[in-house]
Amino acid sequence: MATTLTNFNRAPLHWFAPVTRVRALTLLAAALVWEGVARSGWLYEGVVPPLTAVARAFVVLLVTGDTYHHLAVTAWEVAAGFGIGLVAGIAFGILMGARPFFGRAMAPYVDGLATAPKIIFLPIVMLLFGVGITSKIALGALSAFFPVTLNTAAGMHGISPVLIRVGRSFRLSRAQMVRMIYLPALRGSIIVSMRLGLGVAIIGVLLAEIKLADRGLGFLAIDHYNQFRIPDMYALLLFIFILAIGANVLIGRLSPRR
């Protein structure tokens, strides 16, 4: 699995460790190139604004109350969409694994839809739920649902059949089977599902906001773009980027081991 990468990232590093130095240098080099391009005048000046302008816009963004209003909207949409997609995906995945016939019947549809970009559902979702927050939640949920379902169903295949037989021999109810055997056995799969699901839920929500909304970070980004506030747009993208990394780190804290 990806644990090597994770462990690598998690390993305690001193600021002067070689890897840290290379990482810092990469960032510095990127910044220098950016600044060089910005000052050279090769590109239309608005496209690559000087870093100082972006930095200034970033500070303004951080101290503007409005940013957090939009952030709260997006965070709510992502949380609700992710939550719904996660729960529904786990339930559907367990069902597919526990009822092999049902699993085989559903597999082509789940596989097919899982690879389709969920943004194609946006028009339908808008028709159903309107242009407000609900349609963003729906798109987030739809995005999270498929990878979670696939991962959970695959995890179900990985459960040793004898554990199921132990549960049956102790005469567990269906609900106990889920709570006492399937869910704990799926712990690792569910954590991976959460990472994948959260990532795509964020993408789904932001895309929906960019397409059609009057609130949220995605809306703010496209609004900056439309108004040609390019430094603000870059600052906002940086802000979103940092938030996404933060969310992933939080989920990564849940160890898939054991």
Partner: protein, 267 residues
């Protein structure tokens, strides 16, 4: 404590890609209350299938299973099963594994814990209650599985080759442990094994099964004195019984080998 087990004329067929496969044919046996009976037979003769039928996990068979004279269908509270495969829950500690069936029945937490701690001691795992299965040896994991089944206090204990994966020494010593537990709890016990020494060491009766379809070939009473310990393997009577069983088993094992060998060579 009642708990007499009767198996009446059980037949079981599996539908396989190569057509119907008769796994069991007319198997009847009785384990009187508090007795220890072993079933021995060549690999693939249907022992696990019989275990599954009696435990209520294998559907669609012919014949009847009776507990204390009453026919039963499906799983039953009076029956406890210990499986051939590794079956401890890896996400639970030894103690939590043993508490599992009690948790499922909604028993109060501290009562659960008390009973589980007694069982940890009974199976000789003192000091390992808070270890996870991955931190234990195979024999310790199997003892955890046995303790977990015992926790539910079944009247009848079914075990499917619980020590199959262990070496001979460990197996003999765990056999002693099993006998000690059996004396203490007086459960009706049906043990499936492929070890002749294990069968003779532990049982009141050894049932020899034929190779496919699984039938009962012979029932051999083990009239060795009790209480027994693993030192009994040195005695001449023990050796004679092992010889008798091997005589019957050898024929079946050879038949099994002859039937599987050509396939084995061809692919």
């Amino acid at each position: 404590m009642p708990g007499a087990l009767v198996v009446e004329n059980i037949s079981k067929r599996f539908a396989t890609s190569a057509g119907a496969l008769a796994a069991l044919e007319g198997v009847s046996l009785a384990v009187p209350q508090g007795r220890f009976v072993s079933i021995i037979g060549p690999s693939g003769c249907g022992k696990s299938t019989l275990f599954g039928v009696v435990g209520g996990l294998v559907p669609d068979y012919e014949g009847r299973v009776l507990i204390d004279g009453a026919p039963v269908h499906g799983t039953h509270d009076d029956i406890g099963m210990v499986f051939q495969e590794e079956s401890t829950f890896p996400w639970l500690t030894v103690l939590e594994n043993i508490m599992f069936p009690l948790d499922a029945r909604g028993m109060a937490r501290n009562e659960c814990r008390e009973r589980a701690e007694r069982l940890v001691h009974l199976v000789g795992l003192d000091g390992f209650g808070n270890s996870y299965p991955a931190e234990l040896s195979g024999g310790m994991r199997q003892r955890t599985a046995i303790a977990r089944t015992l926790a539910a206090e079944p009247k009848i204990l079914l075990m499917d080759e619980p020590f199959a994966a262990l070496d001979e020494q460990t197996r003999l010593l765990l056999g002693d442990k099993l006998l000690q537990i059996w004396r203490e709890l007086a459960q009706t016990t049906l043990l499936i094994t492929h070890s002749i020494t294990e069968a003779v060491q532990l049982s009141d009766e050894v049932v020899v099964m034929t190779y496919r379809p699984g039938r009962i070939k012979r029932v051999i009473p083990i009239d060795l004195p009790r209480p027994r310990s693993s030192e009994i393997v040195e005695s001449a009577a023990f050796g004679r019984l092992v010889g008798t069983i091997w005589h019957d088993l050898r024929e079946e094992a050879l038949r099994g080998l002859a039937q599987t060998e050509p396939q084995g060579v061809s692919h």
